[in-house]
Symmetry: D2
Subunit: 348 residues, 4 copies
């Protein structure tokens, strides 16, 4: 991509697109094509997803993760309902109220967890409290899980199965925010099917943008009845492109030859290398396991300041009580190289 050392670890969405995605756009740019998703590439994409996930499914590409998550939730809960999610969830904290917009005001009920991984007991307690609320509480109709989590950790497949079983038993459907689903599948070493519907996920937001695309995610419905009228929701929110082929082409490029997994493996490996290096740096404390492509580390304030002065970019998180120093997040992606990591470690 570039000979320069990368110093920007703010997010995996600051990356460019990969060459394969741009090539796919060029190839898609041939003559007229039916509009609004009736084109050949969009149909092909659904078939490719079905092969990847080893079952029939219904797929809807949209340009942003915020739209993908929020549209999915709007299909799962009525306006007067509620969504249970981890307290760290992107839908609850980082989407500017989009889930509330798309669901017409459904309530997001955050469940506390130590590291972004919801605990079964906490889920059961939240369901019970919601039931006791009766008419006064918007009824929980969906559970949303994030994989990999917002703290860079992973649910095991057993974790997921246990949580989705509790939710289904409570009359809920289950959504997975898979903005970093690729990182999770790569890290778990399982199949896409095993990481999703086989452990009880009903609807998956499959991320592409953080993993090499320009702007492309997909909402995948494993339970077809939930997808009824979904295209109307996509249209009504302005997310149905007239030239939809250009969105589908991006995702097809990522699926081709498992490029999506190669990208995720690279990002994960770089995060692991970085975490490994930080563990040897005594002034650093890593409050969460590094299991995907995000590294959270507490560093002395003088150090984070020096890194910024040297041109490094990253986000600060609120420092937990009792901790001195800055809690920062360092995110790797498919463009991060060992040189970048080693340069960062050397800078420390």
């Amino acid at each position: 991509m570039s000979d320069e050392i990368r110093k920007n670890f703010a997010s995996d969405n600051i990356a460019p697109a990969c060459p394969e995605v741009l090539d796919a756009l060029l190839r898609a740019n041939r003559g007229p094509a039916p509009a609004y998703g009736s084109d050949e590439l969009t149909g092909e994409l659904e078939r490719r997803f079905a092969i990847l996930f080893e079952r029939g499914l219904i797929s809807f590409p949209v340009a942003t993760g915020t739209a993908a998550n929020s549209l999915a939730l709007s299909a799962l809960v009525p306006p007067y309902g509620a969504v249970l999610c981890d307290q760290s969830a992107h839908i609850a904290n980082d989407e500017g109220g989009a889930p509330e917009f798309f669901t017409h005001g459904a309530k997001l009920i955050p469940i506390p967890s130590p590291d972004g991984r919801m605990k079964p007991d906490a889920l059961r307690a939240a369901i019970e409290l919601n039931r006791l609320g009766g008419l006064q509480s918007p009824p929980a109709r969906a559970l949303s899980l994030t994989q990999s989590t917002e703290w860079g950790t992973l649910y095991t497949l057993d974790d997921l199965r246990e949580l989705t079983t509790i939710a289904h038993d409570g009359g809920m459907t289950v959504h997975m925010d898979g903005a970093r689903f690729a990182n999770a599948v790569a890290a778990l070493g399982c199949t896409a099917a095993q990481a999703s519907w086989e452990v009880g996920i009903d609807v998956l937001t499959f991320g592409g943008t953080k993993n090499g695309a320009i702007a492309a995610e997909a909402v995948l419905f494993f339970t077809p009845s939930l997808a009824e009228d979904f295209l109307r929701r996509v249209k009504r929110s302005g997310h149905l492109w007239s030239k939809q082929r250009f969105m589908s082409a991006q995702l097809l490029a990522l699926l081709e030859n498992d490029l999506w997994l190669d990208h995720a493996r690279q990002a994960n490996a770089m995060a692991e290398r970085l975490a490994h290096g930080l563990h040897r740096y005594t002034a650093a404390t890593l409050p969460y396991e590094t299991q995907a492509n995000e590294v959270f580390v507490v560093l002395p304030k003088a150090v984070t300041q020096a890194l910024e002065d040297a041109g490094y970019r990253f986000y600060r998180w609120p420092t937990p009580p009792g901790v001195t120093g800055d809690l920062i997040r360092l995110v790797t992606d498919f463009t991060t190289t060992t040189h970048d990591i080693d340069a960062l470690l050397a800078a420390l």
Copy 2:
């Protein structure tokens, strides 16, 4: 683009993107860039729009016309308010309820017109009726005009000034649905400024997708106070790309060397050529003037059937009462050639 004769006249959104737009994407794809519109290209785009429109303005690129129109309206009317528009308006008929979604249920009040061009007296009557409704009628707070219109006709600059003056006097702001603003400016032979804020437009949806882009429109605010918090609305509806540079790059490519106008001139010229040919064809009746890039024509049913059998594609419109034959729409775009038009006329 292609050596083949184009037979698809269904819409200007079935076209591919132009090479300049794809080149711009390739150029934009260099290294990391700040996310969510803080990149250089998005800033540059606003400056280029300001130059084009000869005044300070605030611009927000979004991927679809439906989103652009609906977001703009949501900034102009409260949820309990109303938008006046022509009965043929895209916002009222073709966006799947998107304006109602984004405005939280504001009412679209259609005003009858013979050819897509709202008449001043009809606007005055609608305002008066709305006032008489008092509490029982959602108050009209915005006027939305489409230029060029849904019937391929054009408002003159004087028409626009008269309508916007009535609206402003009535306490309304004015939105222009400019999905085909380029075609209008090209046909009127005026400047972008003359066609918009100089005749009283407060907010313009500037179309790019039908005119060579992959997926790029812009909402332009000439009255800055109306743009307050607008970026929050864009984010909340999932229309803020993390890699926003790739949207801005498309629009920059269209603005470069007035490519947007060249494209529109070509489309308009082809529509004119087609209308000219149809006028000589006695079995054809053109119910509306062809002033931009859309030709509406009534043809004998046998003829439209024969065209379809020959591979031609177009949309049928409800045939007006008292008319025999099929009312069809033929749309040209920047890729339409004289060969395409002549072949179609020959087929007739």
Copy 3:
């Protein structure tokens, strides 16, 4: 009620409540009672409605007709859907956008009619047009009929059956705005069952406020599955009274000994007497049949002015094209007496 001659014919909602309703409030005011509709009177009300309508049903009392209609519609159509209704419908013209608020922006599609009574062919045409719109048109999922109509006319039972059959065949449910259901049943001389579910009504808004109550209507679901979670919608919109017994008591008083029908018969008889008198007055033209408790009449402007100067109160309607004079509406209710009518006729 009063010895004075009534001169206010503006609406049937300017009337006071009947003594029986106030007595019922006093009787209901005994000691504590469970809140939010778990009280005895609310249960009793549902049983009384079931007897009156000769079948099991689910009833929800709410304080206003606007709330009753809008809540009912919100249970019938999704936010991205549409409701077909007559162009004169109260829901479309007089409720300040409440249906759009409660349905989260569903679209009301008005169907033209000459006198407030939707014609089967017009309904069929609207359904067909809606289907052709595809993704671009919010799909029609409910039909709303007003009985008696906004122009004081009545659907026959055959009319209703034909319309509801068309709607059901088109996959829609049917709502009846029965703000003046009592007037319709009284005029048709049929049973409540015959006027509602027997002719295909799925949900009825049963009016009480215009017919003797302080503030009490009921939403009656004849198709129980449609009522799922309805109480949550009532609660969420602030329409569930903690002291719900006081609302139910009002409706029970109206149902007791068919008081609701007696009231309606009185109002209808007075309207008939008034229409009869007006027909003999050569300067008056009655554009619609007087079949319930509303009389529409065109009078010379000098006459309407003189009436107002004499203290009479009524609403003006937009005068139809080609008509000279003022189109006014005169509404009777259960408190209107023959003296009132005769005085008005004498004043003319």
Copy 4:
């Protein structure tokens, strides 16, 4: 009211209405009156509120507290905004998602507190966190405070002034949920003005239903500009009664001769008597101060069971961690007598 001993302490909304309110209804029931709040009593009510609060204000009576709170909030925050409130707030926990419905999905951000009284530092921290969220966090535009609080405690006037100053400095307006405002004013021994606008409240929900009315609250705007178009919101949500005089009459009856304060004093005194008795009962623990008309007490499970078996009614609250026994709430109202309290204490 009744010679029987009251055993129902579930809520202050299980009470009947007071005789003065019913008398007022009877007096209001004279002849026709203008509809939709144009009647004399509604005008008179606003004047009486202005006298009580010692300043010009705008008042809107509505039937339920849920509607009053939610409508008020909808006037203070945009759909993409947020409301800060205590974690125990009724708006966040007990209104079935009504605030989200009326505000079109604004976010309620709960702030932790030990006893329902928000702490200034916690408010400042929440504001700072919200600011840091930038585009990703719905911006806090209103603060909502509950007085008396959900735990039966009271803010001092100094507490309120400090909190409202922080909010105003942060660009927010301040709403007070005054469902039990009467209890607060009675307990604080201050004036209505001192308890509201003098300490920075912009909009007050003035409760009537829990204090003797059938169904009547009022939204009071001390900052007139905030009330713009408010009546349209009331209408659009179905909360504008056509026979509005019957709602205003209830509130007028409560204001007459400070009946509202007499009622509140009685309720408060009974709660105090109860708390006093419980403090002497060694098995009882009162986790919060009893400052208004709600008593929270932890009792051994055997005791609460025995009380229920004896016919007593009350709500259980989730027992705090580390506490054994049942946390229950006992609510008094204007109908509670010393006999009722003494009987309850004797039963213990």
